[in-house]
Homo-oligomer: 344 residues x 2
């Protein structure tokens, strides 16, 4: 197959503060021929769904080398997780027509050379877009973060912040399936309703309407919190620290409230970790990819049986991608933010 | 034995800011007879050594009930760890003449009813005062905090703050015995010399002479820190967070730099926990007292063979106790701060 033009979303320049739609730009790269170079071990793919994830904010900032993910290159297409169809393959693990998920480019067509970071999609009996979320990186993040990092036990109290997001909605449902008591926080009435009515959280609250987060947590957790799944950082973390129970665990998945600040907020209540003997642990999904097979065996049937529900916020077209990514940091998405590039 | 007067150190009132010697007062309680009440299961002891420990600062502040140790009662004697001789026992586990260590009062004689928190001293072939330190609570703190909480491995890099203190000097030596590379920080040249020359730390520095703690840590740990044994908190923790290695561990034993502040300092670099997948865990020695037997089997021979050295700062007389305890928070002690009340 010969491709002679390729729409792309490029990052104009490194970003400070909240990312704006105008920090990105849709361009059309003219190319005489987009095909797999002779002898290449890579794959040429057509991108179907692109994933907007909070960690991408870090890649928009110029940083020292050595960070666990490199920064974007201004003037070049943004890269991120996505679902794609293989058009041409130089890697024997993939063949034309295969669906894959993994790191790809924000463009119509990508030439992926790092094929070791691609997963072949075997089950297409679920929405393909799920492989950007529940069946992709956010899914493993929720699964490993909750089951491996939090060491949860039935009956424990669990608090999830950014609870309607790509990861939070799953953590809450995993916790409910285990028999935990789960409370979530989110930033709008619509999201709080989702938590209560769709995802089965025991309780949920809108953090923007709580003048005192400590008091809110004491209301929902009169006996304290056994497990906190941390997605936001800052003031919420400080309030949680005052409400942890003895031997509690905090899995730090992300701190989205801090990503756009010039200077991160100071966290003042770390001394609570001592008396309550709390374990606080940062993690990245990447370290748990070896559990992906086991994860699929658990989650795929649960999706098909309706035991786990996943809510996506899908925008159509590459031209909508800059707005969708910027919106993620303003909390505009309801559920997992996905960009549909092409249905097939 | 009949005792008719009892010198005591009382806390005058709850303390704000740095404790001063004048926050405490030496009084002589007149008593017609200090003896074990009829039918008591407690023990009457003569106190020999009293321990000045950083955690005592928290007990000088009026706090909500539910804290893991209660506050002191203004007008009543301070309580704390100590070594004592049993004068009279209503508990079959102890008899007259036994030496014990555990929670006692800051006074010449104490009637201890909570005998379950007393340990009988079997080996008196070492200085009795050691049972306030290396062979007592600080010893178990260092042992459990390092071996159980930090999951150390030979060859790893270890950083210890407040490293010449009761706990820090032991952590450094335990780490050296395991084959780790150990750097310590302390607050004076004398202490730094101790770390280097007496305790066998690979390197040591005076944090007060480092305008940039991050730069200091980068100098001593060009490859980063695998294990941080946290005794101080605040700015040091913030600098350490920037220098942790992948899968690093931080055992939070205490945060002495924060205990006397009206408002604790904010810690800004917690996001580093995520990308480096660091585990940070608070702990208290009390949860590891079941390891005391095993601990003694390891540490007693090491002391006798000179493989572990312990430095104490001993002041004589109950009247010196208020100054010694206040001095602890100003860093005036060099080594474990002990008050000798009576030699036998």
């Amino acid at each position: 197959m010969e491709v002679t033009s390729n729409k792309q979303v490029i990052l104009r320049d490194y970003v400070t503060g909240f990312p704006k739609e105008s920090d990105m730009q849709l361009v059309t790269a003219a190319t005489t021929e987009l095909k797999l170079p002779e002898g290449s071990n890579g794959v040429l793919v057509k991108n179907l769904y692109l994933s907007c994830d909070p960690y991408m904010r870090g890649r928009m900032t110029k940083r020292e080398p050595g960070s666990y993910v490199g920064c974007f290159v201004p003037g070049s297409p943004i890269t991120g997780y996505g679902v794609a169809k293989v058009l041409e393959s130089g890697d024997p693990k993939f063949k034309e027509g295969d669906f894959v998920w993994g790191m790809t480019g924000w463009e119509e067509y990508s030439l992926i050379t790092a094929t070791q970071a691609l997963f072949k999609i075997h089950d297409i009996d679920v929405p393909l877009s799920y492989y950007t979320g529940i069946l992709g990186m956010p899914g493993i993040t929720a699964y490993a973060g909750f089951h491996e990092v939090c060491s949860p036990k039935k009956g424990e109290t669990v608090f999830v912040s950014a609870a309607s997001g790509a990861v939070g909605q799953l953590v809450g449902q995993f916790a409910k399936l285990l028999g935990c008591c789960v409370v979530g926080s989110a930033g709008s009435k619509e999201k709080v309703d989702l938590l209560r009515n769709k995802f089965g959280f025991d309780e949920a609250f809108n953090y923007k309407e709580e003048p005192n987060l400590d008091a809110a947590l004491k209301r929902y957790f009169p006996e304290g919190i056994d497990i906190y799944f941390e997605n936001v950082g800052g003031k919420m973390l400080d309030a949680v620290l005052l409400n942890m129970r003895m031997n509690g665990r905090i899995a730090i998945c992300g701190m989205i409230s801090q990503y756009n600040l010039e200077q991160t907020e100071g966290v003042h209540n770390l001394m609570s970790l001592i008396s309550k003997q709390v374990r606080m642990q940062g993690f990245v999904a990447f370290s748990y990819y070896h559990l992906y097979g086991k994860f699929l065996e658990t989650v795929l049937p649960a999706i098909k049986e309706g035991k786990i529900i996943y809510v996506e916020d899908v925008v159509e077209g590459l031209e909508s991608a800059p707005g969708a990514l910027a919106g993620l940091f303003a909390g505009r998405n309801v559920g997992k933010q996905v960009v549909l590039v092409s249905r097939d």
